[in-house]
Amino acid sequence: MAIESEVLVIGGGLAGLSSALAAARAGADVRLLSYKQSTLQNASGLVDLLGYTHEGDGPLTDPYDAIPDLPEEHPYRTVGVDGVREAMAMFDDVTDYRGGHTDTNALLPTHGGTVKPTARYPKGAAAGLASDDRDVLLVGLGSMVDFDAPHVAAHLEAAGVPFDARGVTIEFPGDLRADAKVTRYAKLLDTNGEVAVDGRMVGARDALADTIEPHLDGEERVGLPAILGDDHPGAVRAALGDHLGVDVFEVPMGPPSLPGLRLEDTLFEALDEAGGNFETGNPVVDYAGEDGHIEEVYIEKTGAKIPVSGDQYVLATGGLVGKGVESDREGVYEPIFDCHVPHAEDRYDWFDLEVFGDHQFARFGLPTDEQLRPLTADDDVEFDNLRAAGSILGGYDFAAEKSGSGVSIATGHAAGTTAAQEVQ
């Protein structure tokens, strides 16, 4: 016996969660297996569809418009413009992200002071839009060196934003340790926990607003690094905003990123609500099956191999960086099913000598047929019941195109939907 489901998804990142969610919403009995937390905790939490073309043109105004001109092996071409739209509709349905009202990319300020084209952004970032012409005060925390507010403000102005930006650096009230964790700030603000200010105990929300207030000089919006609550970010922003009489927004940050973690939580909750099952903490290491058909896979738990079976499988274990694809001196390979990963024989062809050159490794990943089934070196289907989704796919370079989350959501949705159709 094995633990059984109809659709089995391997990997708990944006792609795996989108697959499982799509399959569960289509009525299939779904299980998602994931080893560790996904790259979402490193990601900004912004959902980019396509910011630049594969040739580096952009920023693009309408990502959908540019999809038909992408190379044929690009995952967006496999899924098609309608497939991308359906996937984004599901995403909009289960999150409270903004940006779904238009096809046009939004422009958001980043913690490095650039302006970035993105398709969906968290509600908490909404008041920060770069197309808005209200003046901005950016507030950095001394302990968070990743966000140097005066520097970011200067950069934004240099980038030609239609508003005045000013930056100040403050200390988070209460004398926290110099390397306090982002979750520490978030928890204090979530619970409005008390902090010591001049020997008095004050709720963290008021204390923070009091610290910012003297720096305000008529700006109508205030941006802080993304630390404003984990469970109740809306309430935290509202409290700060009421106190200061302005709109408050979060600037998405690098790792560890609260918006990424909040998105992960939201998607797991949505999966639970849709009746999907999941378990995390242990890797899938092997499979059984023959004649191009997978019978079951094995989760490794300290030496024990636990069998889990499905009728249909989705592989969403991430790319070279997430370890869905691995490499050694001999070559590049996919570790669970040993699916074919095209790469040059010679290791020296995998990368370019220029840092920002045309690196093959950035596009390493599985080639698939039109149903997202991985293909062998001879273009045959590897397994009739396996589909792949997310950054394990080849044929695109998410960092250069700014298409990371979009490709994961679109291919995840497509793979999950097709898998569910197969079992019905």
Binding site: H111, P252, P283, V285, A304
Partner: protein, 456 residues
């Protein structure tokens, strides 16, 4: 930096899956811990820090990344570096372990550092040491108390005595001591006829199920201290459910799994228990038994912490053949199908607010009960979210940690309040204590509900 910034790619490195990563290699000899390989694979992404429930509420706790790889490097590079005492603030929830994308064996590093701190830097005459040792060796006190359960139940919660305990020993007087059962699980087991009776019951069940009467279905039950002394109803439910499925149960000689000892840095005490547990389980496993635990911290200890920390004959075989009890049935029987066809009436026909213990999470069991029971007629189950319960075994019993433990549990209490049921459910006895303490709810174990649903 993020890809929001430039097109260079930030690289989360590989999770250590399988063959490349042999945790026991890290410590060839437990007195000479070499944590270097673990420290080297840390690339400072801070994922672990965002998962640490203590760092979230405690200003003074520098977090798992410091406790693990950073502290290790300091120790390697500075001759007179001693382990930072903040290591005793780690509750050993092992959440950081589960989070690290690079496979750094964080909890192993913490357990080791804590062991070294306690053995080399802590005075054996300090109140704290004595207190921790008493708390960690719960089984010893429980053995005595269970001989006179009524007296113990009274004395342990007797106000003036509690005041003295707090003042002299630092055991918080905020908590109610758990009640001792009038009959321990083992007493019940022997009175019932022990293994012979179980053998007979299992054979009958197999016949009734249309299976081969002589089929080889047998498990060795690791009941742990708590279901022996405090909640024998959980142990009884485990036996009845397994027999219903045709399994013969044996209850081998056993000591505490060691979880509270790891968390208090008492590695020598833990090792003594582990030697007994491994030797009795290893013999049975050789005869074809699988080891089953109903407490998720016990199964965690046997599966992961033992082979990480000790080198005892048979330890890997025991680890590879230990399962959490419900997980075992899911793997080997059609538990889900049977529950879909079942119905519960009477005392356990309730709405449950379910909390997944941290140590269940690490074994991939965080959603198991919700999955199984959400389709069981007559009951409801709602997950109360991913917050840690905060008590972490002996942690929340310490006077200086009580407030912290309650602050961590804050989210869980809120979510329990919001959930529609007012009965709690969890696999972990100390989580159950905390849930009850914070909400006044009655807390049940999934095995009790399985028994109500599946056993005549």
């Amino acid at each position: 930096m993020s890809d929001a910034e430039s097109s260079t790619e930030f690289d989360p490195t590989a999770p250590n899956t399988g063959e490349d990563f042999e945790p026991v290699d890290v410590f060839p000899d437990s007195d000479d811990f070499d944590l270097r390989p673990g420290a080297d694979s840390c690339y400072k992404c801070s994922t672990c820090d965002t998962n640490c429930p203590v760092a979230e509420v405690d200003d003074d706790f520098p977090g798992p990344k410091f406790q693990g790889p950073e502290q290790w490097r300091l120790k390697q590079n500075e001759d007179d570096y001693t382990i930072d005492d903040s290591i005793t603030d780690c509750s050993n929830c092992m959440r950081c372990d589960n989070a690290c994308p690079s496979g750094v064996p964080l909890s192993q590093m913490h357990n080791t550092a804590r062991g070294e701190y306690v053995s080399e830097q802590m005075s054996k005459f300090s109140v704290e040491y004595v207190r921790n040792r008493i708390l960690a060796n719960y089984r010893t006190s429980a053995t005595i108390a269970s001989k006179v359960p009524r007296l113990a139940n009274f004395a342990m919660n007797f106000g003036p005595a509690r005041w003295v305990m707090e003042k002299t020993m630092g055991i918080t007087s905020e908590r109610e001591f758990p009640a001792f059962a009038k009959q321990t699980f083992r007493e019940w087991w022997s009175a019932r006829g022990g293994a012979a009776a179980s053998n007979e019951n299992a054979q009958q069940a197999r016949e009734a199920r249309g299976e081969d009467r002589d089929a080889d279905k047998k498990v060795a039950y690791f009941h742990g201290c708590y279901s022996n002394y405090n909640t024998p109803e959980v142990g009884k439910a485990m036996v009845r459910v397994f027999e219903e499925y045709g399994y013969e149960v044996v209850v081998p000689e056993q000591r505490c799994s060691g979880t509270p000892m790891f968390a208090n840095g008492m590695l020598d005490d833990a090792r003594r228990g582990a030697e007994v547990n491994v030797s009795s389980m290893a013999d049975l496993i050789e005869e074809g038994y699988d080891a089953i635990a109903s407490c998720t911290s016990c199964s965690m200890a046997l599966r992961q912490e033992y082979p990480e920390l000790f080198d005892i004959d048979g330890i890997d075989e025991v680890a590879a053949n230990t399962f959490e009890s419900v997980e075992y049935l899911r793997i080997n029987e059609d538990l889900k199908g049977d529950l879909q066809a079942a119905e519960v009436e009477g005392d356990l026909a309730r709405e449950f607010a379910y909390h997944a213990p941290c140590h269940a999470r690490n074994q991939g069991l965080e959603h198991q009960s919700v999955e199984l029971f959400r389709e069981l007629d007559g009951t409801g189950i709602e997950d109360v979210g991913e917050s840690c319960s905060g008590i972490s075994g002996t942690y929340g019993w310490k006077a200086e940690k009580y407030e912290k433990s309650m602050a961590i549990a804050d989210d869980m209490f809120d979510h329990m309040d919001d959930a529609s049921g007012d009965t709690g459910m969890t696999e972990c006895p100390t989580c159950a204590m905390q849930m009850e303490h914070g909400t006044g709810y009655d807390i049940r174990h999934p095995l009790e509900l399985l028994e109500a649903a599946l056993v005549e």
